[in-house]
Amino acid sequence: MAHAGALHDEDVMLPPPGREPGAGVYNEKLGMWVFLGSEVMFFTALIGTYIILRVAHPTAWKAPGVVLAVPITAINTFLLICSSVTMVKAFASVQDGNLSGLRKWLIATVLIGSTFVGVQVYEYRHLIEKGFVPSEGLYGSTFYTMTGFHGFHVTIGVICLIFVTWRAFQGRYSAKDYRGVEVIGLYWHFVDLVWIILFTIVYLI
């Protein structure tokens, strides 16, 4: 990083200096937005499959609440939405230069995110004990694939958040450079949004 000396005067929260006007945001943020476009298509494939199969075979699905426990997942959904709030608080803190606030809110986000994954694992174990397994018709197939891949995304998000938190404790973020916090925040809100859709169509309808 020795050769990056001249960069110290540049505002890293802006697009690369001395270039044609592009998206108007710094590379990492643009990259994450573009990457999320790819994620949208991935979940579109899963959700589209679900809709087509369910419309073709409505009887393969049980009424809401018969197999899947709605209350506990509703609480879990609420938790995940809360974690988006704590993520926003972490982001607002670092923007204000409040580094202890950043660390506090990041830890809160990691803890809530982990809890969400934990509850999902508990739910899976419970369902499998009851005999609701992935090979249980179209219902089991779609349920485990959709929620499983969402859970996988949350897990990846938690791992990245732990990394960001570790760097926050190292003092790598400041009011002048909080790219990592903002970029992981975008991902985290996206995963949250996907869950709200999944919760609605998998559990409530």
């Binding site: 990083m1 050769h3 990056a4 001249a6 960069l7 540049e10 890293v12 697009p15 690369p16 200096p17 001395g18 270039r19 044609e20 592009g22 998206a23 590379n27 990492e28 643009l30 990259g31 994450m32 573009v34 990457f35 476009g37 790819s38 994620e39 298509m41 991935f42 979940f43 579109t44 494939a45 899963l46 499959t49 087509i52 199969l53 073709a56 075979h57 393969a60 397994v133 992935p134 090979s135 018709g137 179209l138 089991g140 197939s141 779609t142 485990y144 694939t145 891949f149 990245c160 990394f163 960001v164 760097r167 450079d177 790219r179 990592g180 970029v183 992981i184």
Partner: protein
């Protein structure tokens, strides 16, 4: 400085590193974050897979030309594939499946997107490297294990995947139907891994092109190769995750007993086809758009004239990028489809021929009245235009549903897809490799052997693939193991023999290219900075360019195709050359 997503340290000021490159050998050539090295790594990997895909094609051609006769050198294959050198039917199914898979996913796609996306984008837009060099490196080193996983399928019990490169369910998801279990699972896992590699590459390209263009490199001054790679990257970004999602469901059907595509429990085989082709048709344009873009650059260079209709070229690329999403159903006319829906897919398919035709006419307009330099890349580029046109026209045949019912799944389709994939993409790849080879390796390829390779390839290629149209119209099915077991195909067996012999000669011709490629790397004449007298920014730096590419950020004054400009004595005018005050930066025709 750095964040979780990427590093700016190598990005913004690469020029400063030109004079002090102290990286270790491993950092420089193996786990390199330099886009040029990554491009060359992709080049070597995908040429190896191209060779492997070619070998598989030779075995296929042997079986079709000389069914059930012992294959020369066939004795090296184990009993489970070809006892005594005679190809088994089960192995034949694996051969056609893996020929398609390797060629599409591990040869043509990385050659176009992985190699030239990586190598050309930063150089041509005047950037020191990609926006995210480390993610770029990860993209290559994820593609390598994907390749090994795909290769491993040949060595597992039950043989490799045998359900065709399209892996139609339920044949692909049930081992009791195909006789293949582990091979198909490895096929799935490998493509999921490769999909991740492609997605990492594509969002990197998109970010780089949007945010890293040198000052003065306006959108409408971008070379057409970069425009086409940009739209291709968007298609990869949005299409690959669909394939990944579909393959994940297929994998779950095979391994944990889900029922997405198995009809017994309500799953839908047609759903697989829809998902596959919703990816697969944009994929077709992923395999041709970069070829079109690079051919445009090379044709303008060879014709010594500006590209005819630059703006319409860009709009055609964008039009293909949009329309390409609405034509996937034309692969499924015979799968059982509402005829009204079939008609709408027929119309959308014919519509997408319009931007392709615009491009063909623009290439002709570019060459028209030009003082053409027939260098080896130009020869390949002209072959690209003519062969792609044949492939495009035969595409119109099968876009028409009544005609498609007759020729569906015959050798007419095989002829069509090879005219666009070999005649189109691969000729453009040969053009691009021979054109940018001096920049990549700092040495010239032998023009004599380049010409020999070109003319022999062109002749044998047409002898292989043109007669396939006739075979298809005669009713020769696409994936049969032994044509001689059908009485109605016996009269056309001599055509099969002609195709096979031409195919062996075509393959042998490629060894000339391989030899020229390898020998020139060590013994070729030293390449000057700008051997083709081209206008692109990559030709304003040494061959090969240093780490960081540009000593200082180049300034761009004009579009990339100012050949035969009246304002300078040379017949080319690089994008970054500043002209004296009062002289327009570009001739009025652009």
């Amino acid at each position: 400085m750095a964040t979780t997503i990427g590093h700016v340290d190598e990005v913004t000021l690469g020029g400063a590193e030109v004079h002090a490159d102290t990286r270790s050998f491993v950092r420089k050539y193996v786990f390199s974050t330099d886009h040029k090295i990554i491009g060359i790594q992709f080049l070597i990997m995908s040429l190896i897979f191209l060779l492997l895909g070619g070998v598989l094609a030779m075995v296929i051609r042997w079986q079709l030309g000389f069914p059930k006769q012992p294959m020369p050198l066939g004795g090296v294959l184990p009993e489970t594939m070809a006892p005594g050198g005679v190809v088994l039917p089960e192995f034949y199914n694996s051969l056609v499946t893996m020929h398609g898979t390797f060629m599409v996913f591990f040869a043509i796609m990385p050659l176009l997107v992985g190699v030239f996306g990586n190598y050309l984008i930063p150089l041509k837009i005047g950037a020191p490297d990609m926006a995210f060099p480390r993610i770029n490196m990860a993209s290559f080193w994820i593609a390598v294990p994907a390749g090994f996983l795909m290769l491993a399928g040949f060595f597992v019990e039950g043989g490799h995947a045998a359900a065709g490169w399209t892996s139609y369910a339920p044949l692909s998801e049930r081992s009791d139907l195909s006789g293949v279990s582990m091979g198909q699972i490895l096929w799935c896992i490998s493509l999921i891994v490769l999909g991740l590699s492609s997605i990492l590459g594509s969002f990197n390209y998109i970010t780089t092109i949007i945010n890293m263009r040198a000052p003065g490199m306006w959108w409408f001054r971008l070379p057409l190769s970069i425009w086409s790679l940009f739209v291709t990257a968007i298609l990869v970004l949005l299409a690959m995750p669909i394939l990944s999602g579909a393959i994940i469901m297929l994998l779950f059907d095979q391994t944990i007993g889900t029922h997405f595509f198995g009809p017994a429990q309500g799953g839908q085989p047609l759903l697989w086809q829809h998902l596959f082709w919703f990816f697969g048709h944009p994929e077709v344009y992923i395999l041709i758009l970069p070829a079109m873009g690079m051919a445009s650059d090379i044709i303008a260079n060879g014709a010594r004239k500006p590209v005819f209709g630059y703006t319409s070229m860009v709009l055609a690329i964008l039009g293909i990028g949009v329309l390409g999403w609405g034509v996937w159903g034309h692969h499924m006319f015979m799968s059982g489809m509402n005829p009204t829906l079939g008609t709408s897919f027929m119309i959308s398919t014919m519509l997408i021929a319009v931007p392709s035709a615009i491009k063909v006419f623009n290439w002709l307009g570019t060459m028209w009245m030009g003082n053409i330099r027939f260098h080896v890349p130009m020869l390949h580029a002209i072959a690209f235009v003519s062969m792609f046109t044949i492939g495009g026209l035969s595409g119109i045949f099968m876009a028409a549903t009544p005609v498609d019912i007759y020729i569906h799944d015959t050798y007419f389709i095989v002829a069509h897809l090879h005219y666009v994939l070999f005649g189109g993409s691969l000729f453009a790849i040969f053009a691009a490799v021979t054109f940018w080879y001096p920049k990549m390796f700092g040495r010239m390829m032998s023009p004599f052997w380049g010409r020999v390779h070109f003319f022999l390839t062109f002749i044998f290629y047409n002898l292989v693939f043109f007669p396939m149209h006739n075979l298809g119209l005669h009713g020769h099915m696409r994936r049969i193991y032994d044509p001689t077991q059908y009485d109605f195909l016996k009269p056309v067996q001599p055509i099969n023999e002609l195709i096979s012999i031409s195919a062996f000669l075509l393959f042998a011709t490629q060894l000339i290219f391989a030899t020229n490629f390898i020998v020139s790397w060590f013994k070729g004449a030293k390449a000057p900075e700008n051997p083709w007298e081209d206008n692109g920014l990559e030709w304003t730096v040494p061959s090969p360019p240093p780490h960081g590419n540009f000593v200082s950020v180049p300034h761009v004054y004009r579009a990339p195709y100012e050949y035969s400009s009246p304002f300078v004595t040379e017949d080319f005018l690089p994008q970054n050359r500043e002209l004296p005050e009062g002289v327009p930066s570009a001739a009025p025709h652009s």
